[in-house]
């Protein structure tokens, strides 16, 4: 019997660790943590059956703040690690946490191929359009006119469009959320975790320290005008033409997840050692 079953009904608090978050006051990531714990409680998942994997950055601190298993990994490589874990331990619920720098720049290539492989993972990217932990460098989603000492006159670069790229690469579930609506975000996370295959959830999570202008996001977000579609062409058109603030589940695909037979990977260890003998 799991810890949660022993305690009775699940509460979000069951999924919180004793470690106090050190994000800046006002950071959207506090709400994302709340959404994680609410979603896990709603799904009544035993904490020991959940693994939260992350890379590097403010967002990637999140595994330490949960009572689930966690892996705070190498910059940009969280998806590679999570993919290996899920195919070998398919009974676990694997949630991957990242930010727009870790996920779209350093880990950009892993993002494409994780979508393509369609392993049953939930990939949550807390997007604040900035590298917060390293003090404010432009990220792949930063607006071209963002003018700072590090990007004088603005970057002049076209921002990365993660939802379109996820769709084109084969993600099986695509949603956008706003951190300031933790219950709504939790509900989307529940759906994302339940949906088979690679689920991608982008959460707009303001950085109050390096992007104080993002405090306006709460006034800009709005529900997507139509529900999710399973037609990639329709989804692409909708995502390409929205204003970046449509909130909700935008695409639910029906591709079969990739799951190789467990235990039929690369053979047993002695055999592997023989193959590598010099």
């Amino acid at each position: 019997m799991s810890i949660v079953e022993m305690r009775g009904a699940c509460k979000p608090g069951d999924y919180k660790s004793d470690i106090k978050p050190i994000w800046c006051p006002g950071c959207g990531d506090y709400h994302v943590l709340m959404s994680f714990t609410r979603a896990f409680a709603a799904l009544a998942l035993p904490p020991e059956n959940i693994v939260v994997v992350s890379g590097i950055g403010c967002s990637s601190r999140i595994p330490a703040y949960t009572s689930c298993y966690g892996f705070h990994g190498v910059h940009g490589r969280s998806l590679a690690l999570a993919a290996g874990l899920k195919v070998t331990r398919p009974e676990l619920t694997v949630v991957v946490a990242s930010g727009d720098g870790d996920g779209y720049s350093i880990g950009g290539n892993h993002f494409l191929h994780a979508c393509r492989r369609n392993i049953d993972l939930t990939y949550v990217v807390m997007d604040n359009h900035i590298y917060g932990m390293t003090k404010g460098q432009p990220s792949p989603t930063t607006e071209p006119e963002f003018d700072t000492a590090l990007s004088p006159g603005g970057t002049g670069l076209r921002p990365f469009h993660p939802l379109v790229i996820a769709l084109a690469s084969g993600a099986n579930f695509i949603a956008r959320c706003f951190s300031g609506e933790p219950n709504q975000t939790a509900a989307v996370l529940v759906e994302a975790i339940r949906h088979p295959g690679f689920s991608f959830v982008e959460i707009l999570s303001p950085c109050v320290t390096f992007r104080p202008d993002e405090s306006e996001w709460k006034n800009l977000v709005h529900p997507a005008p139509v529900g999710a579609t399973n037609d990639p062409a329709k989804a692409a058109r909708r995502i390409m033409t929205d204003d970046g603030f449509n909130i909700g589940i935008l695409y639910r695909g029906d591709r079969k997840p990739y799951q190789p037979p467990v235990g039929q990977g690369c053979g047993d260890l002695p055999e592997l050692e023989r193959d590598f003998e010099l």
Partner: protein, 176 residues
């Protein structure tokens, strides 16, 4: 953060006690979180204010639990006290927090939270068909109104800071 459609349906006294209990419990949790944030960011004065607010809410929470004798408000609240897409009325807004905020700002958050709770109980009282529920909801309205008055009195102790309160002599600007 608003109280929106999807507030708990109050159909019995047990429901109302549970909702009231959860409102106070959520407020305690939120003030504790804000106090922790301020401790982490070396703002002890504000951490103390949030701890005091948390203690005050904890007293209300425990009082409601005591009043609801015979009802397991904790378990009942877990089943029914859900706020849909919105947030629990008295949970102070996390997104309004700032590492340079002052006690005046903290109390403004508290005031907004008390007003939301007041609005919730008013709506319950206004829509209640059962006289017992209406009576209890009216009592909660009175209690929340007292809390609003209390926060107003506390705010008087702290002058409104200058508009430049966010100015940091060593600001966290982008690296050069």
């Amino acid at each position: 953060m608003t109280v929106v459609a999807g507030t708990p349906k109050v159909a019995s006294l047990a429901d109302l006690f549970a909702a009231a209990y959860q409102i106070e419990a959520d407020a305690v949790e939120r003030y504790d979180l804000l106090a922790d944030q301020m401790t982490t960011h070396n703002n002890p004065e504000l951490a103390a204010v949030f701890r005091d607010l948390s203690r005050a809410e904890a007293i209300h929470r425990d009082e409601i639990r005591r009043l609801a004798e015979g009802v397991d408000v904790v378990a009942h609240a877990q089943r029914m006290a859900k706020w849909g897409k919105g947030e629990s009325p008295e949970a102070a807004s996390l997104e309004e927090a700032h590492y340079l905020m002052t006690p005046w700002h903290a109390l403004q958050l508290a005031l907004a939270a008390e007003h939301r709770a007041l609005a919730f109980f008013r709506s319950v009282a206004a829509s209640a068909k059962d006289p017992a529920i209406k009576k209890l909801a009216d009592e909660f309205v009175e209690e929340e109104a007292e809390h609003v008055n209390l926060v107003h009195r506390l705010i008087r102790k702290y002058p409104k800071p200058a508009d430049s309160w966010r100015s940091d002599p060593d600001p966290p600007v982008a690296q050069e």
